[in-house]
Each structure stands twice: as structure tokens, then as C-alpha cells.
């Protein structure tokens, strides 16, 4: 029996075919390696940020008509107090600035303001009207400035739910000249709460 030999080119294809066959065999036998797993969702947690909320007499912007006065004569004084409170959840300190507008500069300088951390007391309701503020003076007696100027604070920390008062007394100098008759003065107070740093 004669022995046939494959031509050289055919012999070169044999290892390739064997390798391909082996690869196919291996792929067929591969395992999936899948594992069981399970998961549980833990819900119901909510993180809510706090609030910083300043109220003056219970509102955000207050019209202080109680301090308004007409017919003020030299030597007379008026005083009123306001309550500011912490309606939020964050402690804060409070600072107060003031500025004033007037129809006559001489009237502005003749009205001497005193700001305290106390409350107002009325001395006399008839001429010469008088009133005073309790507490520690943090400003004055001095004319209220035209430009915004600090008149109180910063206070100590005011905790949520707490409140404080500040009092303003306006004294019309007895030395006021004739030109101050019938003149007007309009003070503005800005109360600013600043969060206490942790």
C-alpha cells in the first residue's frame, strides 16, 4: 500500500484546524460563574435643613408707628421698645443699624437718640412729655446718623424660640432753635440676624 503524503500547503492548515477545534471545545465547556444575590432597600430617612428666621413683633418687616410723635416740643422725649425673636431652628445673634431722613438738618441734630437693650417706660403723657428706656445703652444719647450706623449688637446668641427687646428714646433738645418748629424726622432701623457659627 502506497503511503500518500499531504502537500506542504495542506500540512500547514492542520495545526490551525486543530487549534480551532480545541477552542470551540473549550468554549462549550465554560461555566457561567453566576452567583445568587439579594438586596434590601432601607428607606424612610429624610434630612431636612434648618431655618434661620428673624421676626420683629412677629413679622418680617415692621411698621413702627408707635414711636411716631407729633407736636414734639423742646425738652420732650418719647420712647418705645420692640421685640425681636428667633422663629427658626438655628441660634443667631442680632445687630441693629439705623439711619434717618429729615426735613431740616438742625432738627436731626436736635433730636438725641438713645438705644438700649431694655424696655420703654412712660413718665409723663402730657407736656412736657417724657419717657425713658431701661437696660444698657448701646448708642447715644446722640443724633441718629444720616448713613446707616450700628446702634446695637451683636447680641449674645438667641436660641430658637427666644426673644429680646430693644428700646429707642428720642429726646428733643431743650436748646433747639426756632427753625426746628414743624420739622420732621424719619428713622429707619434694620435688624439683622446672623447664624451662630457651629
Amino acid at each position: 500500500m502506497s503511503r500518500h503524503r499531504l502537500p506542504p500547503r495542506a500540512r500547514a492548515r492542520v495545526p490551525v484546524a486543530v487549534a480551532l477545534l480545541g477552542a470551540l471545545g473549550l468554549l462549550g465547556g465554560l461555566g457561567s460563574y453566576a452567583y445568587w444575590n439579594d438586596e434590601v432597600v432601607v428607606a424612610g430617612s429624610t434630612i431636612t435643613s434648618g431655618t434661620l428666621d428673624l421676626k420683629v413683633e412677629g413679622v418680617d418687616s415692621y411698621t413702627w408707628s408707635a414711636l411716631s410723635t407729633t407736636g414734639l416740643a423742646p425738652g420732650e422725649s418719647v420712647a418705645k421698645s420692640l421685640t425681636f425673636s428667633n422663629a427658626g431652628s438655628t441660634p443667631f445673634t442680632v445687630s441693629i443699624t439705623s439711619s434717618v431722613s429729615t426735613s431740616l438738618e438742625a432738627f436731626r441734630t436736635a433730636v438725641l437718640a438713645t438705644v438700649t437693650d431694655g424696655t420703654a417706660t412712660t413718665g409723663s403723657a402730657t407736656y412736657p412729655r417724657s419717657a425713658s428706656c431701661s437696660g444698657v445703652a448701646t448708642y447715644g444719647p446722640a443724633a441718629l446718623p444720616l448713613a446707616s450706623t450700628a446702634v446695637l449688637g451683636p447680641t449674645t446668641a438667641i436660641q430658637p424660640g427666644e426673644s429680646r427687646t430693644f428700646c429707642v428714646r428720642l429726646l428733643f433738645s431743650v436748646a433747639a432753635g426756632n427753625t426746628t418748629q414743624s420739622k420732621t424726622l424719619s428713622p429707619t432701623f434694620t435688624v439683622t440676624a446672623t447664624q451662630v457659627s457651629p
Binding site: 414711636l67 411716631s68 407729633t70 431743650v174 426756632n178 426746628t180 429707619t188 435688624v191 447664624q195
Partner: protein
């Protein structure tokens, strides 16, 4: 590069790297604020009431006149005085009227004279005044409104 220069460059690069890593982790320290504005306060100064002068014959003296007014009591009773404008005479305290007689005007030249009544709020520098012109008769023997 030489040895020291290389070391400096490496050190600088390390410092820069550390800064880049640390910077994003800094705390900002921002704080909350809230402000409330208090407005609506108006303080109005008072004013003294000017005396309204009425001129009439002086009771019992037809050659003289009486200037009268209603004294003001706001905010408190005013203190009044009368004077002759452009006269060297001093002001005289009065209450609710002043009599102008020829004798008072003996030093005044001219045909008229101005009488000024000034009210002052006691204890203060506030005052208010009114003027009234009266006429001087022939030869200065009488005064009339």
C-alpha cells in the same frame, strides 16, 4: 538639570500636588443671615401759635389803641412781651393785650409805628411773634388803628 535644581522642582511639584488635593476639602464657613426692616416712624416737631393781633380803641382813652390777642396755651402757656420795632425801648411783659398811647411813641419819628408781640415757650428757645402797624395822629397827640 543639576542635582539641587531637580530637587527644588520635585519639591515644588509635590507642594502643588498637596494643595490641589487639599483645596477642595476646605470648609467655606458660610453663615445664614436674615434681616427685618423697621420703618414707618415719623417724628414731627410742634409749632407755636402766632398771636393774632386785634386793634381797637383803648377803653377810657379815645386817643390810644389796644392791641389784643388770645394767649396760646399749646403746648404750655406762652409768655408774651411787646415792643416797638426800631425803637430803643425794651420789650414789656404783657399777657393778652397791650395799650399803645401817644406817650409811648414820643420818641418815634414818622406817621406809623410797628408794634411786635412775641410769645415764648418758657424754658426753651422757641418763640413766635406778630407785628401790627398803628398810625400816629396829627402832632403825635393820638394813635389810631
Amino acid at each position: 538639570m543639576s542635582g539641587p535644581a531637580t530637587r527644588r522642582a520635585v519639591a515644588a511639584a509635590l507642594v502643588l500636588l498637596v494643595l490641589l488635593l487639599v483645596a477642595p476639602g476646605r470648609t467655606t464657613h458660610a453663615t445664614w443671615t436674615d434681616a427685618a426692616v423697621v420703618t414707618g416712624t415719623t417724628v414731627v416737631a410742634g409749632a407755636l401759635e402766632k398771636p393774632t393781633l386785634s386793634c381797637g380803641p383803648m377803653p377810657g382813652n379815645s386817643s390810644a389803641v389796644r392791641l389784643s390777642w388770645t394767649p396760646s396755651t399749646s403746648p404750655a402757656p406762652l409768655v408774651y412781651e411787646a415792643s416797638i420795632v426800631d425803637s430803643s425801648g425794651s420789650a414789656q411783659p404783657v399777657t393778652s393785650y397791650v395799650d399803645v398811647t401817644p406817650g409811648l411813641l414820643i420818641s418815634v419819628l414818622g406817621h406809623t409805628v410797628t408794634v411786635r408781640v412775641t410769645g415764648t415757650l418758657p424754658g426753651t428757645a422757641w418763640s413766635v411773634s406778630s407785628d401790627r402797624v398803628v398810625n400816629i395822629g396829627l402832632l403825635g397827640l393820638s394813635v389810631y388803628c
